[in-house]
């Protein structure tokens, strides 16, 4: 019999304690990020799709068209092309296509690059309706960013 009353009283009390907790939260400030309107800066280690690096000194990309990344890629997502540089030695990049639908973000391309011409972008707003939206022309992107 006493157990019965004890249960009622402790039960009722615990219900009120619960209400107390939620009302405190009710008056606490909102913590969620209002996503489409606000975004967080991504952490440096975030792996988005790969991106070409801009060389501040030379004012172009760092790629020497060694084809290392293309060969290293286990999923064959990278297609690149270059041509002989006018006057100087070496090659210049003319086209760099990444098929992001196949990329496993393994990072082998970034590792293998002798000139550190590749990095992971911090892009995470990647939703689309068409597969073709994910075939990026990285060279065009880079030039668009720096022109």
């Amino acid at each position: 019999m006493t157990a019965y009353f004890k249960e009622i009283i402790s039960g009722t009390w615990s219900l009120f304690v619960g209400l107390g907790i939620t009302i405190v939260y009710f008056f606490k400030p909102v913590v969620t990020l209002q996503y489409p309107h606000e975004t967080v800066p991504m952490t440096p280690r975030y792996r988005g799709h790969i991106d070409l690096v801009w060389d501040e000194v030379r004012g172009t990309n760092k790629c020497i068209v060694c084809n290392g990344c293309m060969k290293a890629c286990p999923s064959n997502c990278i297609t690149l092309a270059g041509e002989k540089a006018e006057g100087g030695k070496g090659k210049v990049l003319t086209q760099y296509t990444l098929d992001f639908t196949k990329c496993s973000l393994c990072g082998l391309c970034v590792e293998v690059c002798p000139t550190e011409a590749l990095e992971f972008s911090k892009e995470y707003n990647l939703a689309g309706f068409d597969e073709k939206d994910y075939v990026f022309d990285l060279l065009k992107r880079l030039e668009a960013k720096h022109s």
Binding site: L19, F26, V31
Partner: protein, 330 residues
């Protein structure tokens, strides 16, 4: 005269009550989402209109544009009548609720009885809706609703009987009038009648939650387990009407709690009574109802019946006996 004042009065009240119910149904959903948001430290609706104020309109439009499918094999009449059977009694209950000294559609002498008579049709509507859907899960969940409603109507009515013994009338207007003149006159604090009055109010409140199928007693819906339970088969606005009925019932329940226990339109300090006090108390109670929903998880069905039969009914009965003894002595 054809358009005599009585008819105009009637029309005004029909329009007023329907408008009030519709606005409440729409904006309680908004309030619910906002409050839920803030309890979880989110914002809640905010995109459509300032503070998301146009969200209910958008939701309503969306519901109305959905096709009204009548699934194969349902009982077409019951299927269509059921939402109305939930909505109409809820609206009818407003007829006798006095919002202030003068603002009442019909001042019935048996107002309290009428409200409960109308309120009990609601569960019939749910049962018929589920039965008419020819969906066994809907029927099972409707059966649970019925047993829940029966279980909770008992302690609620015992509390009402206690209250009627104290006030000596079934007229809602008179019940409020007896409580005017400050919060110490309100039934919830009428310790001369029974020292257990606050407990009685608590029981009434719990029963009201269960009667309106609100969390933590929302076995009718249980959207995570039963996919909307009793009204699984309802599309678009059919479902919407059930929903509006639920919110209308919350308004009726909290109005009743206000009238019976919290002195209706009376001001807590005895100054400036009026409809605003009624609305303040009612919406404060609705706030609590929503607050409860976002605090407690849904109970199990056994927990729900145990609570009623093992705790609420005995306590309510004890309160009844105590009150009658106290009334006899004093």
């Amino acid at each position: 005269m054809f358009l005599d004042s009585e008819l105009i009065r009637l029309l005004a009240f029909v329009l007023g009550v329907v408008g009030f119910v519709a606005m409440n149904a729409a904006y309680l959903v908004w309030l619910e989402r906002k409050e839920a948001g803030h309890i979880q430290r989110r914002i809640g609706p905010k995109e459509v209109g300032p503070y998301g104020l146009l969200q209910p309109m958008a939701d309503g439009l969306k519901l109305m544009t959905k096709q009204l499918i009548t699934p194969d094999g349902v009982d077409p009449i019951l299927f269509k009548v059921a939402p109305i059977l939930v909505m109409v009694p809820a609206i009818m209950s407003f007829v006798t609720l006095p919002f202030s000294e003068t603002l009442v559609a019909r001042n019935l002498d048996v107002g309290l009885l009428a409200v409960f008579a109308f309120a009990s049709i609601n569960v019939l509507g749910l049962l018929l809706g589920a039965w008419g859907s020819r969906n066994k899960y809907a029927v099972i969940s409707a059966a649970r609703v019925v047993s829940q409603n029966v279980a909770y109507e008992i302690p609620m009515l015992i509390i009402i009987v206690t209250l009627v013994m104290i006030t000596g009338t079934l007229n809602l207007h008179e019940i409020v009038t007896l409580q005017t003149g400050g919060f110490w006159h309100w039934n919830v604090l009428k310790f001369t009648a029974s020292p257990l009055m606050p407990v009685a109010f608590l029981i009434f409140f719990i029963c009201m939650l269960a009667e309106t199928n609100r969390a933590p007693f929302d076995m009718a819906e249980a959207e995570s387990e039963l996919v909307a339970g009793a009204f699984t088969e309802y599309p678009g606005m059919g479902f919407g009407v059930f929903f509006m009925g639920e919110y209308a019932n919350i308004v009726v329940g909290t109005s009743l709690a206000t009238i019976l226990f919290l002195g209706g339109w009376d001001c807590p300090l005895g100054l400036f009574p009026g409809v605003h006090w009624f609305l303040i108390k009612m919406y404060a109670l609705i706030f609590v109802v929503i607050w409860i929903r976002w605090t407690y998880p849904r109970t199990t069905f056994y927990g729900l019946l145990n609570l009623s039969w093992k705790i609420l009914i005995p306590v309510a009965f004890f309160n009844l006996i105590l009150t009658s003894a106290m009334l006899k002595v004093f």
